[in-house]
Amino acid sequence: MIEFRNVSKSYDDGTLAVSDLSLTAASHEVTVLVGSSGCGKTTLLRMVNRLVAPTSGQVLIDDVDVADRNAVELRRSIGYVMQNSGLLPHRTTIDNIATVPVLRGTPVKEARRRAMDLMETVGLDTSMARRYPWQLSGGQQQRVGVARGLAADPNILLMDEPFGAVDPIVRADLQRELIRIQAELGKTILFVTHDIAEAIALGDKIVILEKGGKIAQQGTPHEIMAKPKDDFVATFLGLDEERSLHIDGDLVVDPSGRPVGRLA
């Protein structure tokens, strides 16, 4: 369980990224932090593995304040997947995946063997093992990123817009893959995105953030869609007047009659 207790973060230039925010992300669930840029979602995520220190307040993992833990050890125990994969360009796929276990002292041979298994878990052909990141497609790089995040078998996985830089078809594919992996592994995942559709697709719980790092609403996708708390949330969900949809035959159309989907 990850708990944010009254955390704030202000930067030297006076900008307030997060203000007095409290939030709990339950174990073995996917909690999605969603909001437009400048809502502090990445800042919150980075507080968990101490890449960012809160100006005030605490972040606790299973009731232990992360500030009391050794930062390097803490990071090795938490998976981290970022946009543009953040792979090390001078390491092959397999060595990128094996990074954290090797840092934790696992013999290289064993770490590589486990990395091979992980390549299969995330749907990568093992013939890619010896390739360098720039020899892979964007989607493949993200899969490597996910495999690397899982390599040390962490309880917690932090994902910072991991599928933000790939095309919609690959993104949908990666999302399905993540849902499958999560069903199998049951990690505590904190997932950051600005894409509400992605949040609804992946989240067991969704936290909508507004500018200045405040929570606009939180709940299951169902709760939020059924009862948006205010206009801001409704607009963010695309439930405002302009986007109100209705059914025309077996098509779903917007107020101007443009089709946006089809009934199953």
Binding site: N49, L51, V72, E73, L74, R75, R76, S77, Y80, M82, N84, G86, L87, L88, P89, H90, R91, T99, V100, L103, R104, Y132, W134, R148
Partner: protein
């Protein structure tokens, strides 16, 4: 040509002596410049001052430095340590700027990713930042190496053996072939050291070799596309 054939032994000795002065100086340049560049790159405010000092050192004329340095080091003017120290000082002065730029150019995202993976500062520097700065460091070191090799002959004015001796001796005794041999041999040594560094770079950075191959392969294709477009 006859002079060269008659004096192969002298030339070979001078070449080894030349390398024996240049190579330690090049190694010193690299090893000393890295931590200085790390400070310049890590602490923004120190950067201007450090690079200014490096620039000033590089501006000291070499002959006076060869004479002043023994007073500071307590060595004799004609000691090899003196010459290597002076060459190393120039090398460091030149290398610091290259190295600082090389470290600055490493993608902050990659460094952040490494930190997030749980790299400690030291391991991150040697395992991620330094190798990724490698190609740019090598480019700088190649300039330093060639510059050092071509600076060594100045020490011949102090009477220290190197290919520079062929120049001073050739001038004094009016043997044109000897002067020419000195020049050619110095250039050959410079090219050899340069090739050696490139080879070392490819050995230590296999990923860099592949990147080079990729860009070499890619460019003709791009040219073709421009033509057909």
């Amino acid at each position: 040509m006859k002079w060269v054939l008659d004096n192969v032994g002298t030339i070979t000795d001078a070449t080894w002596a030349h390398l024996w002065l240049a190579l330690p100086a090049i190694v010193i340049s690299f090893v000393v410049a890295i931590p200085v560049a790390w400070v310049a790159s890590r602490f923004r405010r120190s950067r201007f001052t450090l690079l200014l000092i490096a620039g000033l050192i590089y501006a000291i004329p070499s002959l006076p430095l060869f004479i002043i340095l023994p007073l500071i080091l307590g060595t004799s003017v004609r000691s090899l340590v003196n010459v290597i120290a002076a060459l190393g000082l120039y090398g460091v002065a030149l290398m610091v700027r290259y190295a600082a730029d090389a470290l600055d150019a490493v993608s902050p995202d990659t460094v952040l990713a490494a930190t997030a993976m749980g790299y400690g500062p030291l391991r991150r520097f040697f395992g991620v930042q330094l190798p990724l700065a490698g190609p740019a460091l090598l480019a700088g070191l190649r300039v330093v190496a060639v510059s050092t090799v071509s600076l060594v002959p100045v020490s011949a004015l102090l009477g220290i053996n190197s290919l520079g001796m062929l120049l001073t001796d050739g001038f004094q005794r009016d043997i044109f072939a000897e002067v020419l041999a000195g020049i050619v041999a110095t250039v050959v040594v410079a090219v050899a050291v340069d090739l050696g560094l490139v080879g070392l770079g490819q050995l230590l950075m296999p990923w860099w070799r592949l990147t080079m191959k990729r860009s070499a392969k890619r460019s003709p294709v791009e040219d073709k596309q421009v033509v057909t477009a």
